[in-house]
């Protein structure tokens, strides 16, 4: 079938949110990882911050990203009328 303008917009929104979340993912993983020795100078809850990001901080952010994406997309599905039928 032909995709409507609305379908295209749904997909664009999906790409946009994915890009934003990937940027966050990149920062907590690679930027924080790259500067770990510098971050280690800062103390956070008794932890050196660079170590904390690797051991806990990044994991928490990953979890938030995934949960946020699921919530956002499940809402977007309904808004754009592409949600699966409820049982």
């Amino acid at each position: 079938m032909e995709l409507t303008e609305k379908h295209q917009e749904y997909w664009r929104k999906n790409l946009r949110i994915s890009a934003i979340l990937m940027a966050i993912w990149f920062v907590v993983t690679y930027v924080a990882g790259y500067f770990a020795p510098q971050l280690n100078q800062i103390t956070f809850f008794g932890f050196p911050l660079g170590f904390y990001m690797g051991a806990q901080g990044s994991l928490i952010v990953y979890l938030i990203i995934i949960v946020y994406y699921a919530t956002y997309m499940n809402r977007l599905d309904k808004e754009y009328d592409v949600a699966e039928e409820e049982e």
Binding site: L21, G46, F51, L63
Partner: protein, 696 residues
């Protein structure tokens, strides 16, 4: 789970029933631990507690396996696509966390400090990619295997066959390691030899998957997750209470880490420690020198030891010292024994280094060395993440949820359940280090903690302690811990009864069995569904397809056990290599297949081959074991690019895979209208008038 699939049951009722069954199950399991704990107090011997845990848990998995038996294809391959998000999350957690995660992870962090966190980040951050780029789309596609998607999207058997090859390559090495892990744990539980333990473990794996395929594997994996997480948490929480006086280890260990850091500084400067490190350094250097010229060294050393012995006898030295000197002379009787001793001593060299600072990122003597360490750390994180998002046994699990919506949520649950263990492991590593630095280092050999005494006699690769400077006091440099001991000994360090040690072993067994199940199913399904049904006999009856699937499962399992029983040397490396292979072969083709309509069949085929090829080439020329296998003679240094370790070879394969797919696709004609429709179809959870690709 105990009911046969019944149409009149709605999904909501099914969810309710599942929650009820698994709550009862968890309660029952805790009651079982309490009963055993009481039995232990009443005098039940340790060995019997071990047996009880081993057989009770395997019997339990077998029971779930039998209840979940099925003769329906969709039930066999994708558990009927009715697994709710939260349960699929638990099953994925168990599927994901292998014996290495359960037993090895905390130990790896203990030994490597910050650098070990690459595994923690890599093995969790990959789920972000699963959630954003793969799970929902694969669920909408809704078939049975990952090669299914490649076959459909890139039209034809070639893409499918490459997919099958990659899936088997990644999964087989991995499953061999799991079966080996099961063998080790079984052997430790019962005292039977490893070669037999492997086959006992195999029976444990097969009872879960043989009768019920994915359906049985799913429900046993949920049960296994519950056991493994309880087994991991109890000792760590207890240890945290004992050491920090606070029951949440993940919060408390920041202060333990500060203390460890301070203690490291003291130990680096401690004169006694330096003395021991110097003794080790000299001994290693002398051994290395002796090995260069063995015959002459043997004669001169033997003479020296004989002279020493005579001197001792002359002054009437204590019998212990005389016995030691006699042994030293005897060790130099033959060239072989002397050589073996020198080789052993030469390997001491790395122990002469001062202790590594736990929280320090990218240590190295020069700025260049630190830069290389950083590059390798980031490259490893990258490969592990992409690899996580490309391993077929994980992706396959998202075919089993009832909807796209549930698939998205399910990735969140998966990561949550994995997170529970992964954010505890670094805490455990630091807490144990804290204990070792305070209660072991500096104590006299006469009053060692019980767990050190106990494990010292079990296996020198797990724990060895030598009084190099003969001062009767433990220096850190005299103690060597193997990675696996950290988790295995935690119950004893925390002062818990033996029943908890049995529980930890049961947890390790659950972790190994559940991962092995998932992998075995992936391999057997790739062969039975993708090769047999799709390529050889597309008109096969349901009954015949299931017979073939189960036969292949048995064959693959036996092959894996046969390989594991050989104790192959490179197995540990191959497991980590599986991540680079999966990342370089699957990830670019899958993601571009969904996000870029223009990706063509030839592009994907070339990209997968190129990505896998370069990854393999880099490993084969830089990894010692593979170099030996392939007879590579040029030096490692000239084959190394940017100082990257072979384990992260995927860092070259992944970008190359993407580039090749894009370039070749642009050079070949656009994919057909049908393929473009398929791409649109997977992008929208519901598209009116769209295709229906769901396979039942």
């Amino acid at each position: 789970m105990a009911t046969q699939p019944q149409a009149q049951f709605s999904q909501a009722q099914f969810n309710q029933a599942l929650k009820k069954y698994y709550s009862l199950y968890t309660g029952g399991f805790i009651a079982f631990i309490i009963v055993l704990a009481i039995a232990e107090q009443l005098g039940m011997p340790n060995r019997w507690i071990g047996y009880t845990f081993l057989f009770a848990t395997i019997a339990l998995y077998a029971m779930i396996g039998i209840i979940s038996r099925t003769a329906d294809v969709a039930e066999y391959y994708v558990a009927g696509r009715r697994v709710p998000a939260i349960f699929n999350g638990m099953a994925t957690g168990a599927d994901w966390m292998s014996a290495a995660s359960f037993i090895g992870m905390a130990g790896g962090l203990y030994l490597a400090g910050y650098d070990g966190l690459a595994f923690i980040m890599g093995w969790t951050g990959g789920y972000v990619l699963v959630a954003l780029f793969l799970a929902p789309y694969l669920r909408k596609f809704g078939q049975f295997t990952i090669p299914d998607f490649l076959g459909e999207r890139y039209g034809g058997s070639v893409a499918r066959l490459i997919g099958v090859f990659c899936a088997i390559l990644c999964s087989f090495t991995y499953v061999v390691a799991q079966v080996y892990g099961v063998g080790i744990i079984t052997a430790r539980f019962t005292g039977i030899p490893l070669e037999i333990g492997v086959f006992v473990g195999l029976a444990g794996i097969l009872v879960c998957s043989f009768l019920g395929g994915m359906r049985a594997v799913t429900w046993t994996q949920v049960a296994q997750y519950i056991i493994l997480i309880i087994a991991y948490m109890i000792p760590v929480v207890w240890l945290s209470i004992k050491l920090m006086g606070f029951p949440i280890p993940q919060l408390a260990y920041g202060y333990a880490l500060q203390d460890v850091t301070q203690r490291e500084q003291e130990l680096i400067q401690d004169p006694k420690e330096i003395e021991v490190r110097n003794i080790i350094k000299e001994r290693a250097a002398a051994a290395a020198a002796a090995l260069k010229n063995p015959e002459a060294s043997l004669a001169s050393q033997k003479a020296a030891y004989e002279k020493h012995l005579e001197a001792l006898r002359a002054i009437n030295a204590p019998p212990v010292q005389i016995a030691q000197a006699e042994a030293a002379v005897k060790a130099h009787d033959s060239l072989e024994t002397a050589k073996a001793q020198w080789e052993k001593d030469a390997k001491l060299a790395p122990r002469a280094n001062p202790p590594k600072r736990h929280a320090e990122a990218f240590s190295g003597a020069t700025p260049e060395a630190r830069d290389t360490a950083r590059r390798n750390f980031l490259a490893l994180v990258f490969c592990l993440m992409i690899g996580t998002a490309a391993l077929p046994h994980i992706l396959m699990r998202y075919y089993t949820t009832p909807s796209v919506r549930e698939a998205r949520k399910s990735v969140g649950w998966s990561l949550f359940f994995i997170f529970l263990l992964y954010f505890t492991a670094p805490a455990l590593a630091v807490l144990v280090k804290h204990d070792v630095y305070h209660s072991v280092v500096g104590t006299s050999f006469a009053s060692l903690p019980a767990w050190i005494e106990g494990w010292r006699n079990v296996d020198p690769t797990l724990l060895s302690l030598t009084d190099f400077n003969a001062d009767g006091v433990v220096q850190l440099a005299e103690l060597v811990l193997g990675g696996d001991i950290i988790v295995l000994a935690t119950p004893e360090i925390a002062g818990l009864p033996y029943v908890i040690s049995g529980l930890v072993s049961a947890g390790g067994l659950a972790a190994a069995l559940s991962t092995a199940d998932g992998l075995l199913l992936t391999i057997a399904n790739a062969l039975s569904h993708d090769v047999y049904y799709k390529l050889i006999d597309p008109r096969a009856s349901t009954k015949r397809r299931l017979t073939v699937a189960k036969t292949l499962l048995l064959v693959v399992a036996l092959c894996a056990a046969a390989v594991a029983a050989q104790k192959p040397a490179g197995i540990l490396f191959l497991v980590s290599a599986a991540f680079s292979f999966a990342a370089a072969s699957f990830f670019p083709a899958l993601v571009l297949g969904i996000f870029w309509k223009r990706a063509t069949s030839l592009g994907a085929i070339c990209g997968m081959v190129a990505g896998l090829g370069i990854t393999f080439y880099y490993m084969a020329t830089t990894q010692p074991w593979l170099r030996e296998v392939f007879g590579v003679t040029s030096s490692i240094a000239e084959n190394t690019w940017f100082g990257i370790n072979p384990i992260s070879a995927g860092v070259f394969g992944i970008p190359l895979g993407f580039i090749v797919i894009i370039v070749v696709s642009l050079l070949t004609p656009k994919p057909s209208e049908k393929v473009q429709q398929l791409v649109e179809h997977v992008r929208y959870p519901r598209l009116r008038g769209g295709l229906d690709t769901t396979m039942t």
